[in-house]
Symmetry: C3
Subunit: 343 residues, 3 copies
Amino acid sequence: MFLRNCWYVVAWDHEIPAQGLFARRVIGEPLVLFRASDGSVVALEDRCCHRLAPLSRGRIEDGCLRCGYHGLLFDRAGRCIEVPGMEQVPAGTQVRAYPVRVHHRWVFVWMGEPEQANDAWLPDNHSCDSPDWVYRPGYLHYDVPWQLVCDNLLDFSHLSYVHEKTLGGTPAIARARPAIEAIERGLRIARHVSGVPPPPYYSALREFKGLIDRWLVYDFVLPATLLMDSGGCEQGASPDDPERSVHLHSCQALTPESESSTHYFFQQAHPAHLGDAAMTEGLYQGVVRAFEEDRDMISAQYERVREHGEGAMQSLPMDAALLRFRQLIARECARERTGQETR
Amino acid sequence: MFLRNCWYVVAWDHEIPAQGLFARRVIGEPLVLFRASDGSVVALEDRCCHRLAPLSRGRIEDGCLRCGYHGLLFDRAGRCIEVPGMEQVPAGTQVRAYPVRVHHRWVFVWMGEPEQANDAWLPDNHSCDSPDWVYRPGYLHYDVPWQLVCDNLLDFSHLSYVHEKTLGGTPAIARARPAIEAIERGLRIARHVSGVPPPPYYSALREFKGLIDRWLVYDFVLPATLLMDSGGCEQGASPDDPERSVHLHSCQALTPESESSTHYFFQQAHPAHLGDAAMTEGLYQGVVRAFEEDRDMISAQYERVREHGEGAMQSLPMDAALLRFRQLIARECARERTGQETR
Amino acid sequence: MFLRNCWYVVAWDHEIPAQGLFARRVIGEPLVLFRASDGSVVALEDRCCHRLAPLSRGRIEDGCLRCGYHGLLFDRAGRCIEVPGMEQVPAGTQVRAYPVRVHHRWVFVWMGEPEQANDAWLPDNHSCDSPDWVYRPGYLHYDVPWQLVCDNLLDFSHLSYVHEKTLGGTPAIARARPAIEAIERGLRIARHVSGVPPPPYYSALREFKGLIDRWLVYDFVLPATLLMDSGGCEQGASPDDPERSVHLHSCQALTPESESSTHYFFQQAHPAHLGDAAMTEGLYQGVVRAFEEDRDMISAQYERVREHGEGAMQSLPMDAALLRFRQLIARECARERTGQETR
């Protein structure tokens, strides 16, 4: 069960080469991406309509894509414009083309009906492309269904245990109750803890002497994008005092590759006027280490889910946000199936 | 189809660490084992009741087990005694706990109803923990259903072919007809051959000059434990003449890991007053080499069984014991299903 | 869906050792091959009738095959002639034996009813064993259903794209329309192009200065054998002028290993009176490089076919031969199922 009428992140902008073909699968469908002659990104079904060979095994010719098996040539709209040996291309010889947007360095594809593609639904991933923020872009692959990774991002109580030695550092995060609020196509979640040790990964940013106050405030919006302000300041200090605080902005997007695997695009940015390349790299390494902790745990969880089914899960109050988001997805999917208006 | 109301060997005693967690699967169920504060072994379902994460990814705190995902804390009875952020643990928050016995260095778990756990059904694996016997403990993993390994152990005619260069050494073993006798919850099987060359693996124990007489006498009891006296003596000599004979005792247990994989715990012991560490090691290496011969053959056999089905097997007189034992298992399983008394 | 009443190539003659056992699977059935005392090749079902162990794990004794598990002994007709420990072999103790022919260095097995084995259906693979031709024998394994490889061999328009840098060298091959003609149990396909650059793999054979004329003429016969004359000559020259032309003969056979994997036996021969061992090796290397290009493409295509189904394929005129051959296979399979005469 996947939403189709929404924008999925398929790649970082820099992953699509100036020349050449880039293959990636989204919600089970194989896509081939490349740049047209004007540099804009094109996304086609990665499967020739003739004998089903992957078009990503072909080559670009003047902004069109030539199949590497029998040589059919497709334009950026997916129309076949040449069949070797034929005078005329038979009607209906074409592959699917997907609407594409490059928005703040993320490449988005619209997997639903092209005429419904709605730019208002692109997320506010501004820190991906802003003079105010610096980061190293990240990507991880999960052999796990996307919803289990959503669950993880919608309940930060796991920071205390999975990330004890990276993002967490204290059981206080798990003990705090977050505020959860509905927003358009998603949830806003805010969690504050005070008088806690700085988390280990802050060491790349600032050396706090004593305990700190921390905040983690994020929107989580369809299909599965996290946009987060977070930070910490000396206990009792103003969060706005630049000498006594840390501010971060993070954008993270989950894209189902298949029913059982997931793409994870992420960045954790620090303010551009602070620190140097070593800080940027240190922050990236700290976050990657933590996200690998997540992946280890969720992969192990998924082994159990596969054999036991999710029905065996016992809900607890800490699951509030993830349960609401699962309901939101189910409702939107139902709406798509029944053909109702999606807005 | 697995028996549940019986003791399965889950580990050698030394495999369960003093601190830390040990994970192993028995009849398809994932278990986590650890030592309580008093050193006794605890076995719990290795799956948190909350989001199904494996508890073996958590940690011990004062003899209790803390889940590594969201921090639920479980006592040795499987009861959750803390949910981070909640004053009260909701009723019914618990995982399954399994009865455990440590008996002659084997750790047994009872997979059926706990109140039926019956210590009288622990096998007589005395040589695993006796001043009279010395051995190096062994473990092998099979990607094969346990019943095919039982079949192997219940028909020693394969010693002549699979183990020609290790345990066998002569076609006479295959030609001999064993005596088979019903015992409580199993079978007693006795096979004698005389005037045969000593098997190659005896070379670690004694250098026989000529032909010998051999005996292989064992009980095979539910669920799948072999307890064997074996040995050989110079042809015509008394088996009790310590200068002219070899005596061994072996305990071997098969535990289904899943429908298609099996744990194999084994030891082949020699008398403690004979030989040194080199003899112990030489005997162990000889047996491991032979058991790997079995595993190679049974794994190859299993490939054929998977695609062809056991129905294609043609029974021969040498299958008498294995067929009786399969009937015994089927009868006990049926008894469990229909809820009859198991004694 | 496999044809059974036909000859499948199971091995090159030299693959069957003088002593010892050779295992290979054909149309899903495991076979064990060996040489009888007179050197002739025997093919038996590679599965003991007793406990289903692969007989290829056993050994040869006086031209008979002894099972390595419990020692049953089978003769070349598949009859069990000894069960260890029994005076008499029970009736019906046997495994299947398959008719075998060694024909021009290819070992063929007949997978259907033995009494229908028809030597007239052996293909004319004469260049495999002729003083006039020289080659190095080739074998490749495909994790792809055989029909997708047949498709490939029945439409050489792919030479222009898949093999641009090896066998092809020009889009003219794809643009040419071949002549297709029905022959007994197959098709004859002839394709001519003129005024094209010599294909890169010809460089092992002759250095042409300018453009050439090429021909590719082959029979493709059931179950899946290609027998091809091909060559090229200076543009406008006589194909028979030995100083200005290249002549090759190729024999290639596809044998389904299973529903989803295929054996590929092949040779591309040059005239014996031309060139030396270096030419033979250079030609072989060129062909292997090209056939690995095919395997890469067809394996990628098969990924798509597996998830999408062949029904999504859109037929084009270039598919004429492959569609006719698929119909021929379907018709012959139907005939076998309904038990009609196969001739």
